[in-house]
């Protein structure tokens, strides 16, 4: 078991006052709150900060923890002292936020499992609904797929203790699902108490960023590079769409930035989205004599003024 340096987690010294700890916690909680944070590992960080605060904010628990610290060697595996029952009494108190926080083994070896929160409030209680995010590829939305998701869920064991259970669910991801859309899995939330029904599980879908395609609602857009002569003279190109390669006709005199709409080739939602190919004129670099000469000939012979609208000579 790994020793947790709660002071380090909180970014305060071992001699910090309770006020300093409170301030540090508030600041870190805002930074890493999973509902607001833009940090990648927010949820994990938030849990660590929450656990550190749970110990340090409570003078009794903090004293018990400090006592342990005096003979602790850095990097050494932590072994709970054998006499902790008598040595580290504290007055209980429940875990914050019902069953949603799970503390480390280190915490539980010191302070036990804490109050069991949820579960005991009524004999018949509806189980809690849960929300989770699920990351899929755009392709999955075009084809539909099945995903195995792993959930950590607090549950109540037969002896009434709260335990964290890991569950694997094979979930069908329907074709045509859009970013941010939710799937409700009835009865897959927390178990109810007594005659209470189990809660539901809501899965919110998020698309993994794609190199080629961008998604907006049910519409999908992609950049399509063209050589200047292709855009000027018109051509046929092969376009790799999420639903397969198609031949796309580029009309003559297509300007860069022009959007070609392919109706119904976006996400096959209830109302199918469209696919937009956004034209980009790719300029051949003038770094060999042949190409330079070619540009020079256009420069000499062409009357074209790209800045005609700016009204300067």
């Amino acid at each position: 078991m790994e020793y947790k340096d709660y002071y380090k987690t909180m970014g305060v010294g071992r001699d910090a006052t309770q006020d300093e700890i409170k301030r540090a916690y508030r600041k870190l909680a805002r930074k890493y709150h999973p509902d607001v944070s833009q940090e990648a590992d927010a949820e994990q960080k938030f849990k660590e900060v929450g656990e550190a605060n749970e110990v340090l904010k409570d003078p009794e628990k903090r004293a018990a923890y400090d006592q342990l610290g005096s003979d602790w060697q850095a990097q050494q595996d932590f072994r709970p002292p054998p006499d902790r029952e008598s040595g580290f009494e504290y007055t209980g108190g429940s875990r914050p936020g019902g069953g949603e926080h799970d503390f480390s083994d280190f915490f539980e070896s010191l302070f036990g499992q804490g109050g069991s929160g949820d579960g005991r409030r009524g004999f018949h209680m509806h189980g809690e609904d849960h929300h989770a995010k699920i990351l899929i590829d755009l392709q999955d939305s075009y084809n539909g797929t099945t995903r195995t998701i792993t959930l950590q869920m607090p549950g109540v064991a037969q002896d009434g203790q709260v335990i964290n259970r890991q569950r694997n669910l094979n979930v069908s991801i329907p074709r045509g699902i859009r970013q941010g859309q939710q799937i409700r899995l009835a009865g897959q939330g927390s178990t109810g108490m007594g005659d209470g029904k189990a809660g539901d599980l809501y899965l919110e879908v998020e698309f993994r960023p794609h190199d080629i395609y961008r998604v907006d609602g049910a519409d999908v857009s992609m950049d399509l590079p063209l050589a200047p002569w292709e855009a000027a003279l018109g051509t046929m190109v092969k376009l790799p769409t999420p639903s397969g390669v198609i031949d796309l006709k580029i009309p003559a005199n297509s300007q860069g930035g022009r959007k070609l709409r392919l109706k119904g080739r976006g996400i096959p939602a209830k109302t199918a989205g469209d696919l937009y190919a956004i034209l980009h004129i790719a300029l051949p670099p003038a770094d060999d004599p042949g190409t330079r000469e070619w540009y020079q000939r256009m420069q000499r012979d062409s009357e074209f003024n790209p800045r005609a609208k700016l009204e300067v000579a």
Partner: protein, 99 residues
Amino acid sequence: MTRKRIIKGQLLEDSDLVTLDELCRSCMVETETVTLLVAEGILEPQGQSAERWRFGITSLRRVKTVIHLQRDLGVNLAGAALALDLLDQIAELKRGMQN
């Protein structure tokens, strides 16, 4: 891996609505809490009276976020409402950046 049961969920559309009771049950809050959120403008249900209120499906997520923010950060309702608005703006900007 002997049992590979595939669960088919219900795909929720933006147009799907929930009643006050359903919202309260799902978020495990009292009706008073929802009433306060409506008064604060955090939730905008259709329907004139509480009995007729119908909430958009995104309300579930909003209520939960407000509760989490209040519980974990100690913000009041107005603060939570402000955070929600800013979160919406960030999401919109991100979408804009992508396209």
